[in-house]
């Protein structure tokens, strides 16, 4: 599946919910299922800055595709990173670099897109793309 396909799938899943409570509950559940980062990578250098909660992200390249794992000490933040990783993981670096995150707005989580938001969704996206740029450079 392409990043766009996965994002459309996520939009479909969220469209089943009528109110914010159900959406948040689902996001929290997604957070609980997040592919957890190996403890050895939960280092200070892997923390994404700009988050009120801590977010650790680790990236690995397998068969020209990037696999992301992550964790956060806040469950809502973990849900957001889970949604992002689901759409970006196991994709080619170039596709990750080119991808946009408009789907976050469409699933009713627009408030997390604000650059001033303390959870740092914007910082997370930037960090995932930085990994993609780094791996793309290796491929070239």
């Amino acid at each position: 599946m392409t990043i766009k396909d996965i994002q459309n799938e996520i939009i479909d899943e969220f469209s089943m919910f009528d109110d914010w409570e159900e959406r948040y509950q689902y996001m929290i559940d997604l957070g609980k299922d997040l592919p957890l980062i190996n403890e050895q990578y939960k280092t200070d250098s892997n923390i994404i800055k700009g988050c009120q909660s801590k977010v650790w992200v680790h990236a690995e390249m397998k068969d020209d595709k990037i696999a992301f794992t992550a964790d956060s000490d806040a469950i809502i933040t973990k849900g957001i990173i889970a949604i992002l990783i689901r759409s970006f993981s196991n994709q080619h670096p170039k596709d990750i670099i080119d991808a946009n995150t408009d789907f976050i707005d469409k699933i009713g989580l627009k408030e997390h897109l604000s650059p001033t938001r303390a959870n740092g969704l914007v910082s997370m996206v930037k960090q995932l793309k930085m990994y993609a740029i780094a791996y793309q450079t290796q491929l070239n």
């Binding site: 914010w20 409570e21 948040y24 509950q25 929290i28 009120q52 909660s53 801590k54 000490d73 806040a74 469950i75 809502i76 933040t77 303390a118 959870n119």
Partner: protein, 404 residues
């Protein structure tokens, strides 16, 4: 007579909705809301008096100057300073602290001690660290206990003939603890040290008397007490303000300028370089008038009642822990739910229209003391109600259910 429903009518923002719910504003320790009387004063200034002050011969400039200086007199009267020139209008508490810290850099030397408290806001830690770096002085810290109170026996051990400055907040922003500043000032003066009290969190709740306190410097921000952002006060005893060099150079602060030498203006203008926040200063006066109309005794009594009610109600929630349990505190409750990150709780409360602060509240050393990443902080003002506290309690219960 104190009637909260009447008071709420003064605050237009309290009738708005957030996320489809009536706004419950419990982030008063970060910034207070603005009553119509203060908003009107802003409009009145820009509609009728806007001009640069202290230098124009034209009528507008003189009227604006009069209003600005009248505001200074109101501030002087409110804090009971001996002279109006002891009131320096600044951009806020942080500016005031930096002004004093900068001034002391020429007065300190290696071997001198500066004492701060473990309960300080970052703005009352960082400038002094920078001052120590510049001068070689040593920064010492009054520790805190589990209740969030300063350990005064440790202060007694820290203070010595080497102590030149002591900086403590009147009330802790993160926990609400009221610190024993009278004792601290007395002890510091015994060894000849100057004392700066950060009153940012005290000014919305109590009316400090700087002469009775015998404090050397007292600093506040207007936006904590129903005033506008970007304006605040530095009170300094005349003798100290005369001793400190100017902070910024520019217009307004000079007496005479040649390329060989500039002589500085007298107080307070020596510390007020450039065009000040004229509207802000004038409206700061209007905010003080407003709060005095409500009355600080009535405010304190009502807020204490809210604090007691909220504390009792919140503690009925299983797994909720309150940080800062001093008997001597203002209407601030910092808390966490067991195993739940404060950020998550704040996010759910926001969806319910309830504004609280989450995080370390610019007081990381306090969070390190409790070994927590931060807290949820609900801070109450005289325009809040028990019904709003009930909404908070229900909101926290909902957050707990969703996040567990």
């Amino acid at each position: 007579m104190f009637n909260v429903q009447d008071i709420r009518k003064d605050f237009p923002i309290l009738s708005r909705k957030v996320n489809g719910k009536p706004l419950v504003y419990f982030d008063n320790a970060a910034t207070s809301q603005t009553p119509q009387q203060v908003i009107d004063a802003i409009v009145d200034y820009y509609s009728n008096y806007n001009a640069n002050i202290h230098r124009g011969v034209h009528t507008l400039s003189q009227e604006a100057t009069d209003l600005y200086e009248q505001a200074r007199l109101k501030i002087q009267a409110h804090f009971n300073a001996k002279f109006s020139h002891e009131i320096i209008l600044t951009s806020g508490t942080t500016h005031s602290i930096n002004l004093v810290a900068n001034g002391f850099s020429s007065l300190l030397k290696k071997g001198d001690d500066i004492i701060v408290s473990a309960l300080e806001h970052h703005s009352n830690i960082v400038p002094w660290q920078m001052l120590c770096e510049r001068t070689g002085a040593t920064l010492k810290v009054i520790p805190m206990n589990e209740e969030g109170e300063l350990v005064m026996s440790a202060f007694d051990d820290l203070i010595s003939e080497n102590t030149k400055l002591v900086f403590v907040n009147h009330i802790s922003n993160a926990l609400g603890t009221i610190n024993p500043i009278e004792y601290i000032i007395e002890k510091a003066h015994e060894v000849g040290a100057a004392v700066l009290i950060d009153g940012a969190q005290a000014c919305p709740h109590i009316k400090p008397d700087v002469q009775a306190l015998d404090v050397d410097f007292y600093v506040v921000s207007a936006h904590k007490m129903c005033g506008p952002t970007g304006v605040g006060m530095l009170y300094g005893k005349e003798a100290w303000l005369n001793k400190l060099p100017p902070y910024q150079g520019g217009g307004e602060m000079i007496a005479e300028v040649t390329f060989e030498k500039t002589t500085y203006a007298d107080l307070p203008h020596k510390f007020e370089a450039g065009t000040p926040n004229i509207a802000g200063g004038i409206v700061f006066g209007a905010a003080i008038d407003y709060m005095n109309t409500i009355g600080f005794d009535a405010i304190a009594a009502y807020e204490n009642d809210l604090l007691e009610y909220a504390t009792k109600k919140l503690l009925t929630i299983d797994g909720l822990k309150i940080y800062g349990t001093s008997k001597n505190k203002t209407s601030v409750i910092s808390f966490n739910l067991e195993h739940i990150h404060p950020y998550d709780v704040g996010t759910i409360l926001d969806k319910l229209g309830i504004a609280v602060r989450t995080g370390h509240h610019c007081a990381q050393p306090i969070m390190d003391f409790y070994c927590i990443p931060g807290t949820v902080r609900a801070s109450f003002s005289f325009y809040n109600t028990k019904e709003e506290i009930d909404a908070l309690v229900e909101g926290v219960k909902k957050a707990k259910m969703m996040l567990s």
